[in-house]
Symmetry: C2
Subunit: 332 residues, 2 copies
């Protein structure tokens, strides 16, 4: 076997991606081609104290790294977290995480791991993952919309770069108004897209249509209303359930059309639990989108569903962010 040529510098060919969500924290060692070498997780909600949380996270990351090639193979760390700022590396007043106020997560991880760390908010990371390893590969102008239980998040890329906005708060498509004086939204405003197009919004629409329905509906027999149980009723031919998704898709298509008219993206990529509803949501969404979008881009926007696995997408996106880190002391 040949010896290493010591006149040539060696590069480190792995990074760590960390995906912090309200329910669980997933972390992985990822190689230069986006292959996940090893992955693990623990429950975020087990730690109400941020210092204990970071200590536990670092301990587990170190263990995973040591079992899989060792510390010296790791170049840097990328982190996805709700309400995180890429500039400061802080989680800032996250509504649903157990830790309140401004958490200097990037600096804490850097100091305890001894590695360069990059941080970004979850919507940005999802879009970066789609660009790096998913449906947006090779695209410069695209939108990713994530619809799940809690809400509707989005991020877009402009000229190949993420558009984060002046304060880092861009992408609040969920809080654009689609119905003046419409349904009350958790943000305090009325008629927000998220108030209709999230699992919570879907359930609310189901409850309204069940109450208004003169026909019997399978929805009334469900122990729990959810994307899954309502979609199951659609497959059984339940008209009210079908109408729930039709109405939701129609509103989603309108919100997406408004977004596309100002952005003219190459594609809109949908992710999150809501995409599980399949055609019941997507067909009325598409019809409404093409009806409302400005005529010069009608039938020009690709609408795609993410091809990445839900459990891997954001650790992959976080790992993609890690490759960009050049400076150890990015955060104060």
């Amino acid at each position: 076997m040949e010896k290493k040529d010591e006149s040539i510098d060696q590069i480190k060919t792995r990074v760590v991606g960390i995906d912090i969500r309200v329910d669980r924290t997933t972390f992985a060692v990822v190689d230069i081609r986006g292959e996940i070498v090893a992955q693990d997780y623990f429950l975020t909600s087990d730690y109400t104290d941020i210092n204990e949380y970071v200590a536990a996270l670092c301990e587990r990351v170190v263990a995973l790294v040591e079992e899989n090639g060792g510390y010296e193979t790791i170049r840097s760390v990328g982190v996805s977290a709700p309400s995180a700022s890429a500039v400061t590396g802080c989680i800032e007043n996250a509504a649903n995480l157990p830790w309140k106020g401004v958490i200097p997560l990037g600096a804490m991880l850097r100091d305890q791991l001894g590695l360069a760390v990059a941080v970004a908010n979850d919507a940005h990371i999802t879009a970066l993952s789609e660009k790096s390893y998913g449906s947006a590969h090779g695209m410069k102008d695209f939108v990713v919309i994530s619809i799940s239980h809690g809400g509707l998040g989005s991020c877009f890329f402009s000229n190949g770069q993420p558009h984060l906005g002046f304060n880092g708060f861009a992408g609040e498509l969920g809080h654009t108004c689609v119905e003046l004086n419409g349904r009350q939204c958790g943000c305090g405003n009325k008629g927000c897209l998220e108030a209709y197009c999230s699992e919570k919004g879907l359930i609310k629409t189901a409850e309204e249509l069940i109450a208004a329905s003169k026909e019997p509906t399978l929805l009334s027999e469900q122990q729990e209303l959810s994307i899954k149980t309502i979609a199951d009723c659609c497959y059984k031919g339940d008209k009210v359930a079908i109408e729930v998704f039709r109405k939701t898709g129609e509103i989603l298509g309108l919100g997406m059309a408004n977004y596309a008219s100002v952005l003219n993206p190459e594609a809109i990529i949908l992710t999150g639990d809501m995409t599980q509803a399949g055609k019941w949501l997507l067909k009325p969404m598409r019809a409404s989108f093409e009806e409302h979008v400005f005529h010069n881009i009608k039938n020009k926007t690709r609408i795609l569903v993410s091809i990445l696995k839900e459990g891997e997408r954001d650790v992959l996106g976080a790992s993609a962010l890690a490759w960009d880190v050049k400076e150890y002391s990015l955060f104060k």
Copy 2:
């Protein structure tokens, strides 16, 4: 006087900016600091044949240049035109210009002037002018909205670059839906922002409110309804006229809030005739904007009115575009 050192290359310190509008074509020689050395115009509508138009334009540009420093001082040419593509240099199916179809304007001007030419659509040029010489100077993420007789156009910059979109059609804020099944818009859709927030939309609102009013109103006595005549009635205390702008401002603020929630710009800069209405429009617009924008950017977006002169802004923007041209043969 010292001789020129011939071992040093000489740079050309002037460009030509051309602003093509439906009514008139303005062109100017502009120096490296954005000072207009000389400016002239002619009526666009005098030429229904594109070849005659381009010949006349070139003749007049050459005359202006020769009277003001000579051809050898000019580096390049920048052009602003409706429905123009920066990539192809073509005007593509402009709704209101006299020339139909796809016009290879950039290539025609380059070939006849013998200078490198850059072309961009009017909304992009207006935003570039604000960034180069106006209210957006020093900003990376900002929006410019132009409201005039015909419509409502917009362009935004992301990370310091214009966001043009995948097909170059971004910025159609005027055709985002602000009222489901609302007023018919010229684009074929209903409830578009432009159907309310343009001079045409304003007049339509005035006509509706005059018809519905039980009180006498000065608006009924106007020979012609326009931004100016309606604003004049506001200054005379006419309640219906004030309501016309209040309603228009309220809808404009909603459309701007939706835009800001997804873009999080540092500033929104308003240009065009509609800004002449002053407080009658801007006060209700601002209140509605802050009411509807997502809470984390409430009171964080600067809303400005252009400080550039209407007759100079777009030739200046076109000249700013000219500085970026490096290649003579940009267009086929």
